[in-house]
């Protein structure tokens, strides 16, 4: 099986049992995804391609990004499609959005914490000025049915065991917290656009994801574990491994976003993530089980401050009750699929280098 066949199967698995019909509002419409070549955008493109090929939805998808060349090399099977158009543009200077656009998903932001630390002003600029630019553009779209802004699960905090959309806690102030604060302000901009310009806008707050298309170069637990295992190294956990996280698989996330976009009421705020929490040690063990030979897991390779941890488990009662959405890819399966995809990619790179 090829990598793109695997991601196609992932999408079809999500769309079966009549779930495709719940996306009927997308038929024969034009969808623009701004910041469309990252993890989320690529999975939405996979989902749209599946809907068009297997269910004849006739969606025209426009992916707006500064990195269209990278997308073409990483997902050539998507970039080459006639129903997907790549638009090279900075979110802050949007000028080429089709006037026939029905739906907009605004996902433009760099989630890499290294960039936030080194370039906090640029991080804020992309998020805040980018969102201003998106809503100004949306004002001119006569056919616009809905704008979905992808914020972040980090915009709120709570002492509870999981974060609901109504949590009142705010991120700390300071340059180190520029990303969640900018995202928080961008949510406010969206709210202002709804009030002042009557733009039908709603907000999704993504938490942690896992799946193909996620770069193993990023310094997150799931990507670090996969990279260690893929390179045949022991998986190293800095602390005792009891820190908890949760992960939603890429095709689940794409389906959720499309459902929220098409069925959510303007003004709604929705958590997007899995409530199935797992300790990092257990996650490392699941990752290890998917590699042969199974890598060793080393705990406490560096002592970790236990007092300073962020809670990143979403409360998904709202999305479950109001949208009927639930996690369709259990974590074990999500890790297995991700590991298989990266192994296939590694083998593919080996083939290229060996001629």
């Amino acid at each position: 099986m090829k990598r793109h066949e695997m991601t196609r199967n992932d999408c079809l698995r999500i769309l079966k049992s009549g779930r495709d019909k719940l996306l009927d509002p997308l038929r024969q419409t034009e969808l623009v995804v701004i910041g469309g070549t990252g993890f989320v955008g690529t999975w939405i493109a996979e989902m749209v391609a599946s809907l068009n090929d297997e269910y004849q939805f006739g969606i025209k998808l426009h992916l707006v990004s500064r990195s269209t060349e990278k997308f073409s090399s990483q997902a050539p099977h998507l970039a080459a499609r006639e129903d997907i158009q790549l638009i090279k543009s900075d979110v802050r200077q949007l000028g080429k959005i089709p006037m026939n656009t029905d739906w907009v998903i605004h996902a433009a932001a760099n989630p890499d914490v290294r960039t936030h630390a080194s370039n906090p002003l640029d991080t804020a600029s992309v998020i805040v000025e980018g969102t201003m630019s998106v809503v100004r553009t949306a004002e001119r779209l006569g056919r616009l049915k809905k704008l979905l802004y992808l914020s972040s699960g980090l915009v709120c905090s709570s002492q509870d065991s999981s974060l609901s959309e109504n949590a009142k806690g705010a991120p700390e102030l300071g340059a180190s917290f520029i990303y969640p604060n900018a995202k928080r302000f961008a949510e406010t901009v969206c709210s202002a656009a709804r009030v002042q310009s009557r733009i039908p806008v709603l907000v999704a707050r993504p938490f942690s994801f896992i799946g193909p298309y996620q770069s193993l170069d990023t310094p997150w637990a799931q990507t670090t574990f996969l990279a260690d295992a893929l390179h045949g190294r022991p998986i190293r956990l800095l602390g005792d491994g009891q820190l908890k996280r949760s992960y939603l698989y890429g095709s689940d996330a794409a389906y959720w976003f499309l459902r929220i976009l098409t069925t959510g009421p303007s003004g709604d705020v929705v958590n997007v993530g899995s409530q199935e929490d797992i300790s990092l040690q257990d996650l490392a063990e699941i990752v290890a089980q998917n590699f042969e030979p199974s890598p060793e897991i080393l705990l406490n390779t560096s002592p970790r401050n236990q007092g300073r941890t962020t809670l990143l488990i979403p409360d998904i009662t709202h999305v479950h009750d109001e949208y009927g959405l639930s996690v369709l890819t259990p974590l074990n399966e999500a890790v297995k699929l991700t590991a298989q995809w990266h192994q296939m990619q590694k083998n593919c790179e080996k083939d290229i280098f060996s001629g």
């Binding site: 290294r114 630390a117 080194s118 180190s176 990279a227 800095l238 002592p303 007092g307 300073r308």
Partner: protein, 342 residues
């Protein structure tokens, strides 16, 4: 006092100590000390040119042995201890220096920058982390930043993937309360561990290291007999003894580390580190300990008091790599002296 808390010891005798001998440590001396430190159970042994990987040069001093020889020799003589290196981006590049160092068996990479310049470490830390080795971020001359600004820089290193932050008292300037305050803030605000590297200009290296431990630091640096730049570092064998007495666990055998220190004194050090009058002035003025030799040389050349040079350098917030300024300061002092005479 019973703490039972574990402190990781990193021993830069064969790296910071290289400053004290003009980077002239031979492979025989490296092998000898590595065996002794390994036998004593030192968790991390840091090896290399005083300014770290790739730093051997006419400007900074040419090392007697290449990085390759030093690291391979160390690797061959360490069985339990991890092999560490000090990496300053710019001196060390990823392609030319870091990649080969990994092939030579390095376990711990400490990527260092002047305390306000953590940004320059992003690629080196990210690369090291991606290679599956242990990586720490080091903030040198940390007394030059307020605790709040130091935290901002530490947070950058954490975001790049550093597994811990070591803040360095490169000038031997701190008093214990200042160390305690910084460690407490970093421990409270970071999710990774915090370490401390002392110099002994004001005779406070042990006291400052203990203050760091009491405030929550997980890693301390110490060198045999304090063998290091300027007035030297925290004296390792004394640190182990005191930590043991206070109930901290280091996994280091006291008798064997005392033996290692004796061996180092007899076989490795040309001169024992002492707190010279100039070291005191260096510590008070907050000037990098490694400036001592050029300051003394230039002071003699220009016939000015080296202490005046130090205090002037301190006023100008001079950092490592700005050695050329010593000449400028000496020249200015000579001219002012002339004016005063008139």
């Amino acid at each position: 006092m019973e703490t039972n808390r574990k402190i990781i010891i990193s021993d830069p005798t064969l790296r910071d100590g290289n400053h004290a001998v003009g980077h002239q440590l031979s492979s025989e001396k490296i092998a000898l000390y590595c065996r002794a430190a390994d036998n004593a159970g030192v968790p991390i042994v840091e090896v290399g040119h005083g300014n770290g990987l790739g730093a051997s040069s006419l400007q900074l001093g040419e090392a007697k042995v290449s990085d390759q020889v030093a690291l391979i020799t160390a690797r061959e003589n360490l069985s339990k201890s991890k092999l560490g290196i000090h990496v300053i981006p710019g001196f060390a590049t990823i392609e030319r220096d870091l990649k080969p160092a990994l092939d030579w068996g390095v376990d711990v990479i400490r990527v260092a920058a002047h305390c306000s310049e953590a940004d320059i470490c992003e690629r080196h830390i990210s690369f090291s982390r991606s290679q599956g080795v242990e990586v720490w971020g080091c903030l040198m001359m940390s007394h030059m930043l307020s605790p709040t600004l130091l935290l901002e820089q530490a947070r950058k290193m954490e975001s790049y993937g550093a597994e811990g932050i070591v803040f360095m008292d490169s000038a031997g300037h701190y008093l214990p309360d200042a160390v305690r305050h910084r460690v407490e803030l970093l421990v409270d605000e970071l999710s990774i561990s915090v370490g401390f590297h002392a110099h002994n200009n004001l005779g406070l290296a042990i006291a400052n290291s203990l203050a760091a431990a009491e405030a929550g630091a997980s890693l301390l640096d110490g060198c045999a007999r304090g063998f290091g730049a300027g007035a030297g570092n925290t004296q390792l064998e004394v640190l182990i003894a005191v930590l043991e007495r206070l109930g901290y666990s280091t996994d280091i055998d006291l008798y064997k580390i005392l033996d290692a220190a004796d061996l180092a004194e007899q076989n490795i050090m040309k001169n024992m580190p002492t707190i010279s009058s100039n070291s005191v002035v260096s510590g008070l003025s907050g000037v990098f300990s490694g400036f001592m030799k050029p300051v003394l040389r230039i002071a003699t050349e220009f016939g000015v008091d080296p202490r005046d040079i130090y205090f002037e350098l301190g006023k100008r917030n001079i950092v490592a790599g700005q050695e050329d300024i010593i000449l400028e300061v000496a020249k200015d002092l000579t001219q002012h002296k002339g004016k005063r005479i008139k």
